[in-house]
């Protein structure tokens, strides 16, 4: 897993709780570092904050999608931006999940596992659409 968030506290929450689900977690404190890690390490999934200095989450998602090497890496947005317009953008940028802060870190491991399973089952497109049409998370 790769967590890209400028907030140390959020990265810590993700790392500890995902590790509890047996996942190995990489951390990046800004968009640029996140992109580099994603390209080099090819994580199974990226948890992506939006509001970050310099290179923001939207840009990271766009660049990941534009790059053949990283296009397939599923992106789950993890952000304080809760407006419908933001979720629509997240959907357009190809996200497979959209978590709004504050979120429950305890269930984040299950959530990520579920997303990965459904992608394996070919439900990637459906996951994407659920960002705006599915139940709020």
């Amino acid at each position: 897993m790769l967590v890209i968030d400028d907030e140390r506290a959020i990265r810590l929450l993700c790392r500890v709780n995902l590790a509890a689900s047996g996942m190995e977690v990489l951390e990046a404190a800004d968009g640029r570092a996140g992109l580099d890690l994603a390209r080099n390490e090819r994580p199974d999934l990226v948890l992506l904050d939006v509001m970050m200095p310099d290179v923001d989450g939207w840009t990271v998602a766009r660049e990941l999608a534009a790059d053949d090497e990283t296009r397939e890496i599923p992106v789950v947005f993890l952000t304080a931006r809760a407006e419908a317009a933001d979720k629509r953008l997240g959907e357009q940028l190809g996200g497979v999940g959209y978590l709004v802060k504050p979120f429950d870190p305890v269930s984040i491991g299950d959530f990520v596992e579920d997303v990965l399973t459904r992608i394996e089952n070919g439900e990637r497109e459906q996951l994407r659409r659920e960002i705006t049409s599915g139940p709020a998370r």
Partner: protein, 697 residues
């Protein structure tokens, strides 16, 4: 001729001469009548005498004056018909004098008088004529029977001639006097009418002017907006009576459909003249009303004139004149004067109204020219009939381009602009609809309301772009504040949830980290909430400052110390204090300002660098600079960063958190401590924020 006869003749000549002298001195008709009836009657050696003249109507003989007759006799002879079978009627008709020697002869000649007083004796009636025109006659009654010899007859006729000439002359004089007075009055009235455009006031003064010169009473009634009769003025010499007249008006309001007087004049536009108010008319008006009868009796109305105020074919009101206790009955000359007076008054009222209308129009035009709202008037076909300057500004289309054109051609977006605007009935509460239009490539938001009336539609346009922007700023602020609250909230909530997990074992290090996270993020939450509250207080001017003497270097040191505890590794923070003066300020507020500036300096230095807090003396003031080597601020933004809710990065995707209130609060606080806060910056090189506070005096 005997000596007696000659002396009698001489005596008659002397008496005639005496009368002639007196008549020559008499100027007014009253003086003339007095001279004839005293000296003339005496000169003729008569017991009694009277003078009657043909009235204005040419059908009546009116008794002007008399002497020596018993009042109860004369009461019957105040006026009588010219064609009646009486001695005076005959004399006036024929122009021939009449000499009757005895009452028997009189009764024989005039059987009509047989039942009249029988104590009379000889009677002489001589015509009063000037230039062959008989206008009246003089009677002379004697206390004995007289056979009139030619000389004596000649003397009576000569007396009549003298009297006629004097009377005619004096009446001419009086008529001329009256005419001159009327002209003077008209001139005065005209001057008054021209003196002011406040015609209500002018007409009231006109009514005052009419009494008592023209009448005992004068009233002016106007046709009200609802077609009713509105009494504008009542004038009488006695203010008590005026008060009383108004009370009377209250008690007996005029019936607009009334058959006579003012209602009739207002309805028909025809004047109404009653030289003598007939008793039947009063009786008809009084009916069985005892109180009204008492009032009418007390008023003693004798003669009335009611004339319409007509201008440009419209009856505006009526002027009424009434002769009562003092004024003689009105003459046709009075009536003519009243008509002329009313004509002039009507023109004055009309002019004043026209002027007022024109002025109202001009004021309305002025209001429309300067009002900030756009006002657009369309006729039924949707053609522009009015397009005020604000409408021109809002739409970008000038009045010249718009007037007379179909509005859909003038503003192509008109349909889009007004299609959702409900057309209201006149007088209903406006319900503006806000719609965007693009003018000159710029989007403007316009609140449009429309009112439909018989002849078209009027639209009011209000440019609410600024308000909308402010509204957007506010809602952006709410969104921003919520973003800002969500991240620390996520940290606190997440830390607690994680700490309570019983399905895993946290390392001691992580455990400690989570506790610390809860503490610091809760502090951060509190700080954001504080800022929101403080901004609200500053807006309401409810922030109290505790001004004391303080050492700015000490405050700065405290800020550095506290900032150093959570500093990114790449940032170096230092204090440079160079003997700054003591200042008078609220140390807590100054601390808050400096902490915020240092915070910003750190936040906007994502790549690290030196942040310096420099405290120094500057021209007697204390200057505190906060310098960084961070992102810097574009020149165009530098003046705006102190605005409330303004953010360098409105999309806030850059993640440099904040409520958008920090610098607003800083500047407000510094200014409230009589200082100022400025910025110098170059993008990519860093920024310098400077707080200058006055030294303690």
């Amino acid at each position: 001729m005997t000596s007696v006869e000659s002396s009698e003749a001489a005596d008659r000549a002397r008496r005639l001469q005496r009368v002639a002298e007196l008549l020559a001195e008499a100027v007014t008709p009253e003086q003339v009548l007095d001279a004839i009836l005293t000296e003339g009657v005496r000169a003729a050696e008569a017991r009694a005498g009277s003078i009657g003249v043909v009235g204005d109507d040419g059908e009546q003989i009116v008794m002007l004056a008399q002497i020596g007759y018993r009042p109860e006799i004369m009461a019957n002879w105040q006026s009588f018909r010219l064609d009646a079978a009486t001695p005076m009627s005959d004399v006036i008709r024929t122009g021939e004098p009449l000499f009757i020697s005895s009452v028997q002869e009189r009764n024989r000649l005039y059987p009509l008088l047989a039942d009249q007083g029988q104590e009379g004796h000889a009677l002489v009636i001589v015509p009063l004529a000037v230039e062959g025109q008989v206008f009246g006659a003089m009677s002379l009654s004697f206390d004995h029977d007289v056979e009139f010899e030619p000389e004596r007859r000649e003397m009576k006729v000569a007396l009549g001639r003298q009297a006629a000439q004097a009377l005619s002359r004096s009446r001419l004089y009086a008529a001329e006097q009256a005419a001159r007075q009327r002209m003077t009055f008209l001139a005065e009235a005209s001057e008054l009418l021209a003196s002011s455009l406040d015609y209500n006031r002018t007409l009231r003064r006109l009514a005052q002017l009419c009494v008592p010169r023209l009448a005992d009473w004068c009233a002016i009634d106007m046709v009200g907006a609802d077609g009713g009769i509105e009494r504008l003025a009542v004038a009488h010499q006695d203010p008590e009576k005026v008060k009383w007249a108004y009370e009377l008006q209250q008690r007996y309001p005029p019936d607009p459909d009334g058959p006579r007087g003012v209602p009739q004049v207002l309805r028909t536009g025809e004047p109404d003249f009653l030289p003598t108010i007939p008793q039947e008319l009063l009786e008809e008006a009084i009916g069985d009303d005892v109180e009204l009868r008492r009032i009418v009796d007390e008023l003693g109305l004798t003669s009335s004139i009611a004339v319409p105020l007509i201008a440009r074919g419209r009856t505006l009101g009526a002027l009424s004149l009434i002769a009562a206790e003092t004024h003689p009955p009105f003459t046709p000359a009075d009536f003519e004067l009243a008509i002329e007076l009313a004509r002039r008054a009507a023109v004055a009222v009309d002019n004043a109204r026209l002027y007022r209308e024109a002025e109202r129009g001009a004021n309305a035009a002025r209001a429309l020219a300067y009002v900030a709202d756009g006002v657009v008037l369309l006729d039924r076909d949707g053609t522009v009939r009015h397009w005020n300057p604000a409408a021109a500004t809002i739409t970008g289309v000038s009045e010249e381009e718009a007037l007379g054109q179909p509005v859909t051609e003038v503003v192509p977006a008109w349909e889009q602009l007004t299609s959702h605007v409900p057309l209201l009935a006149p007088g209903s509460a406006p319900r503006p609809v806000t719609v965007p239009i693009v003018i000159g490539g710029q989007e403007r938001w316009v609140a449009v309301s429309g009112v439909g009336f018989g002849d078209g539609t009027v639209f009011a346009l209000q440019d609410v772009t600024e308000e909308r922007a402010l509204e957007k700023t506010r809602s952006d602020f709410v969104a921003t504040a919520s973003h800002e609250l969500r991240t620390p909230l996520a940290a606190v909530y997440g830390a607690v949830r994680t700490l309570r997990r019983d399905d895993m074992q946290l390392s001691e290090f992580d455990h400690a980290q989570f506790l610390e996270m809860i503490e610091s993020e809760a502090t951060r939450l509190a700080k954001i909430v504080d800022q929101i509250l403080l901004a609200g207080q500053l807006d309401a001017d409810a922030v109290e400052l505790d001004l004391t003497e303080c050492d700015p270097a000490e405050v700065a040191a405290g800020v550095i110390e506290s900032a150093a505890t959570h500093l990114p590794e790449a940032i170096s923070l230092s204090l440079e204090a160079d003997g700054p003066p003591q200042i008078a300020c609220d140390p807590n507020k100054l601390r808050q300002v400096l902490a915020n500036l240092v915070d910003n300096a750190v936040k906007y230095s994502p790549d690290g660098g030196a942040v310096v807090l420099r405290v120094q003396s500057d021209n007697g003031s204390c200057r505190i600079d906060v310098l960084d080597e961070g992102l810097g601020i574009p020149a165009a933004e530098q003046s705006r960063i102190f605005e409330k809710f303004y953010r360098l990065d409105p999309q806030q995707t850059q993640g440099v958190g904040g409520s958008g209130l920090g610098l607003y609060i800083c500047r407000e606080l510094v200014e409230r401590m009589d200082g100022w806060l400025t910025v110098e910056s170059e993008p990519g090189k860093g920024s310098r924020f400077s707080v200058v506070l006055p030294a303690r005096s």
